[in-house]
């Protein structure tokens, strides 16, 4: 039983790691996509921007796919319920996500102004929209989502999707995610770009980082007034994974800060995030984009783990039937499954990090626009 609890906690942490990887790597590419029309005034500059992430976006995107797969396996009920309750939003996200690979591959293959201009808009939409939705999903989950379960484990939705798109706190989280993505993408454009391109990217990145910092601070104050969720009595973390028949849960303003009060060390998480968001733009001001990129990564990690730390053990609380809220304890896979998955993760995550690093090393250095324009093998 203790082993099962440990596995559940490890997978909750790994979920945070995965979401961070997703936010940093995919967010960077999304940021470049969003910025494409603004940092690139000429076609050459835009193609250079795409060439900068060209060899890597495909690999980065797998974080997104792996995120989906890992939630499916490690928290099946969470996967089933969250993707379905957020249906319209998720489908919009999917549309944006599938537009992007196609835009990369097709944009520069035809030399016509309207063709390329259309794909540049596609980059803007498919970059900005997923980041806003990614952030907004966090915002919605923090406020609780309206759903309950039938006897066989089927979920039923109790709210309209319009709420998930248009509520102020979710929008704030969405814009913050976009700002961080713009920051991360801008930093990458500075690392490998030259001249005007890099200069414009720098301005946008600094703005994005500082905006994220401001929104993070506002969100931190706002969370005090949002109704968080808390158990009324202690739960058995080793319980079998079913959302039915669980202990009562109350909704109370400020409950999301409970974990921080009981474990003050957790305050380090938002502090790390804020350090990243403040230090990043400063590094870019000092023209140290590589340092800035890593500080941006720190900002993401800090933010995501802050949200996770506030909610733990809740994953997706239900605002209409709080007792059926999904938690780390009641939405996870079986011990056998989590064990096997952990084995695979322990073996393969280091391998993935190693060859991703190798790929970045092989392709390192500034991208020369002249060569990009001359060679139609480039994006």
């Amino acid at each position: 039983m203790e082993l099962y609890i440990a596995l559940k906690i490890i997978w909750a942490l790994l979920l945070g790691v995965l979401l961070s990887g997703l936010a940093i790597m995919v967010g960077m590419d999304m940021g470049v996509g969003t910025l494409l029309r603004f940092v690139g005034r000429t076609d050459a500059e835009r193609r250079t921007s795409l060439a900068i992430i060209g060899p890597h976006w495909d690999g980065n995107q797998v974080w997104f796919i792996l995120g989906g797969g890992a939630i499916f396996a490690a928290f099946p009920t969470l996967y089933a319920t969250s993707f379905s309750t957020f249906y319209v939003v998720m489908i919009l996200l999917l549309f944006a996500m599938i537009l992007r690979p196609v835009a990369f591959e097709y944009r520069s293959k035809v030399d016509a102004r309207h063709w390329r201009a259309s794909w540049d808009w596609a980059f803007l939409v498919s970059g900005a929209l997923p980041m806003i939705i990614f952030g907004a999903a966090f915002g919605n989950v923090l406020q609780g989502v309206g759903f309950h379960f039938g006897w066989d484990g089927q979920y039923y939705q109790d709210e309209s999707f319009v709420w998930y798109l248009l509520n102020p706190f979710a929008l704030l989280c969405g814009v913050m995610a976009l700002a961080l993505a713009v920051y991360q993408g801008g930093a990458m454009l500075m690392i490998r770009g030259m001249g005007d391109l890099a200069a414009r990217a720098r301005r946008f990145a600094i703005g994005g980082g500082l905006l994220a910092l401001v929104l993070f601070a506002i969100g931190g104050v706002w969370i005090r007034f949002i109704k968080g969720f808390a158990f009324t009595r202690s739960v058995d973390p080793g319980m079998p994974a079913t959302p039915l028949g669980g202990p009562a849960v109350v909704m109370r303003a400020g409950a999301w800060l409970d974990n921080f009060h009981t474990h003050p060390l957790l305050w380090l998480l938002p502090a790390l995030g804020a350090c990243g968001m403040l230090g990043g733009p400063l590094a870019l001001l000092a023209r140290k984009p590589v340092l800035g990129w890593w500080l941006g990564a720190l900002a993401w990690i800090g933010t995501i783990f802050t949200a996770g730390g506030a909610m733990f053990p809740f994953l997706m609380p239900s605002s209409t039937t709080p007792a059926e809220s999904l938690t780390v304890w009641n939405a996870s896979g079986s011990a056998y499954n989590l064990g096997w998955m952990l084995g695979f993760a322990v073996v393969f995550v280091p391998i993935i990090v190693t060859y991703t690093g190798w790929a970045f090393r092989v392709m390192k250095g500034k991208v020369n626009p002249a060569t990009v324009v001359a060679d139609d093998h480039f994006y």
């Binding site: 319920t81 319209v88 690979p101 979920y155």
Partner: protein, 538 residues
């Protein structure tokens, strides 16, 4: 209450997106190894024409790969967005291969594909070759884990239903991974991809040869593709036969539908239907032509076994439904009360619970406890009928797939023979056939998908969870929104994809790979230039 319209729309959407995705997958599986073979020749012989070949076919590979990845994203998320009950029910075991696919294969494929396209100047020849092989291996490993997941839907091995968590729980990793169904399915699908890739390369090369363009390039590509394809088609047909025997053992209803067997086939003389017009409504053939003494040896590889027909399978389904209804009623009561007596009652009928779920649709208000003895026969009859997949679709999609497979052997055999004799130019007919056959392997793959997945109906998890029970509880509006979006986007994509494929295939290799265009500025290495003070590109 489950709304049948929503379930049907969800099925339509999944089928559309899966079939669409599956147009691109076979080419990726096959082309990647053909690229690896070409580059191997380049590294061995050092002849630059093989590098040109790798680059050119690599470009077409890239166009196809991008859209394959894009549409694959949909698949990974669609289980959650549209099949929540399914995801909850089997996520503990079905999600695992999907996650491992990401960890082990997809990451590798996508990271190295970037290096494969852009790393030519930055890697040594052997290192680049290794990268190409890794891409090929990883794309097939991807298929492996996806088909292990699919194998679980066809023959749920390695898991057991747990009444406390109301889902299938993972029990044996080995049983899941080495399930015979998953194994045979993977090998069959992967090699079918090789056939598709080979036909693609061979057909386009034939087009050049017919027009007497790029002959050096096309003759070599043709040779490699013809041999690659010939061996692959032989393998794919043999493996398909093995897969059929597997279905005979674990999915008798699928096999009966594939062969249009209304009555059980006893003894060696039972006819194999070459042609038939199965009528699902009346459950008989409107017309049929059979060849005696073929069916039993073909399916079972022996003379004396009995192959159960649809009538017999429906009778068996009725008995299981009676038991399944008891199982579900006991399960529901156990869920509410955690009463050990209810659990004991459930355990007695556990293995038939899927049929209880299946019967739910035909019970009054979809409530099994409301079935009166008077209503029972009607419910049983409807459930039994529902337990058989659509015979017409299954019969014909299977036959089209097999027919195409046999035709490919002929095309590849002639292509390989004349290519080996260097007499291709004397036989334009062979080349025309190769050209016309380009899309056919993809078509065969699609029909293979239909055979496998239509034959699995009415189940998402064979014998345990019906499709009807699996979908998310969406409103119709949601489904129309997403369906309309997918149709619109995917139509745009296919138009752009075909336009580009034709454009680059017509342009041919010489135009853009052999000689780089003269540059307005001095050529410099692409990367690795620190400070670049002036801007010659403006």
């Amino acid at each position: 209450m489950i709304d049948p319209t929503v379930v049907n729309l969800s099925r339509l959407q999944f089928a559309l997106t899966a079939l669409y995705h599956f147009q691109f997958v076979p080419l990726t599986l096959g082309l990647s190894f053909i690229l690896a073979a070409m580059e191997t020749v380049y590294v061995i012989t050092g002849k630059p024409i093989y590098k040109d070949m790798t680059l050119f076919w690599g470009k077409l590979f890239g166009i196809n790969f991008a859209i394959g990845v894009a549409t694959g994203l949909t698949m990974e998320f669609e289980f959650g967005t549209n099949w929540s009950m399914y995801s909850h029910f089997v996520g503990d075991v079905f999600g695992t291969p999907l996650a491992i696919e990401g960890l082990m294969a997809f990451f590798m494929e996508s990271t190295f594909v970037g290096l494969m396209f852009f790393g030519w100047d930055r890697l040594s020849r052997p290192a680049h070759l290794a990268v190409t092989y890794l891409v090929a291996l990883a794309s097939n490993l991807s298929a492996l884990w996806i088909l292990i997941a699919n194998g679980f839907m066809q023959d749920p091995a390695g898991a057991r239903f747990d009444p406390v968590t109301m889902r299938m729980q993972f029990k044996s990793f080995g049983a899941l991974v080495f399930s015979p169904d998953a194994q045979a399915k993977f090998v069959h699908t992967s090699i079918a991809g090789y056939v598709s890739g080979a036909m693609f390369v061979m057909g386009i090369s034939a087009y050049y040869l017919l027009r007497k363009q790029h002959r050096e390039f096309a003759a070599r590509s043709f040779r490699i593709a013809a041999l690659f394809g010939l061996v692959s088609t032989l393998a794919v047909v043999t493996l398909g036969d093995a897969l059929g025997r597997m279905d005979d053992l674990v999915q008798p209803a699928k096999l009966a539908a594939m062969e249009g067997l209304w009555h059980s086939a006893r003894g060696p003389s039972a006819p194999w239907k070459l042609f038939a017009l199965p009528d699902d409504e009346k459950q008989r053939d409107a017309a049929s032509i059979g060849i005696p003494y073929v069916l039993t040896p073909l399916v079972a590889h022996e003379w004396k076994t009995t192959i159960p027909g649809i009538y017999a399978l429906e009778r068996a389904a009725k008995a299981r439904t009676v038991s399944g209804i008891k199982a579900i009623i006991a399960l529901k009561s156990f869920g509410a009360s955690h009463d050990p007596a209810a659990l004991a009652a459930f355990r007695k009928h556990e293995n038939d619970m899927g049929y209880g779920f299946l019967a739910q649709r035909y019970a009054p208000d979809q409530d099994l406890s409301a079935i009166t003895p008077a209503l029972l026969p009607a419910v049983l009859a409807k459930t039994a009928r529902a337990s058989i997949p659509n015979v017409f679709v299954e019969f014909w999609s299977f036959r089209i797939m097999v027919g195409l497979g046999v035709a490919f052997i002929v095309v590849f055999a002639f292509g390989a023979y004349y290519s080996l004799k260097n007499e291709l130019e004397k036989h334009p007919l062979v080349m025309k056939a190769a050209m016309l056959a380009i899309p056919l392997p993809i078509l065969a793959c699609e029909f293979g998908w239909v055979t496998a997945e239509n034959g699995r109906q009415p189940w998402t998890v064979y014998g345990w969870l019906p499709t009807f029970q699996s979908a998310s509880s969406h409103g119709i509006g949601y489904m129309i929104f997403s369906l309309a979006g997918f149709v619109l986007l995917y139509s745009l994509f296919i138009a752009a994809e075909l336009y580009l494929m034709f454009k680059y295939a017509r342009l041919g290799p010489g135009e853009h790979t052999a000689q780089p265009k003269p540059l307005p500025v001095p050529v410099r290495p692409v990367f690795g230039q620190p400070g670049y003070a002036h801007k010659p590109w403006q």
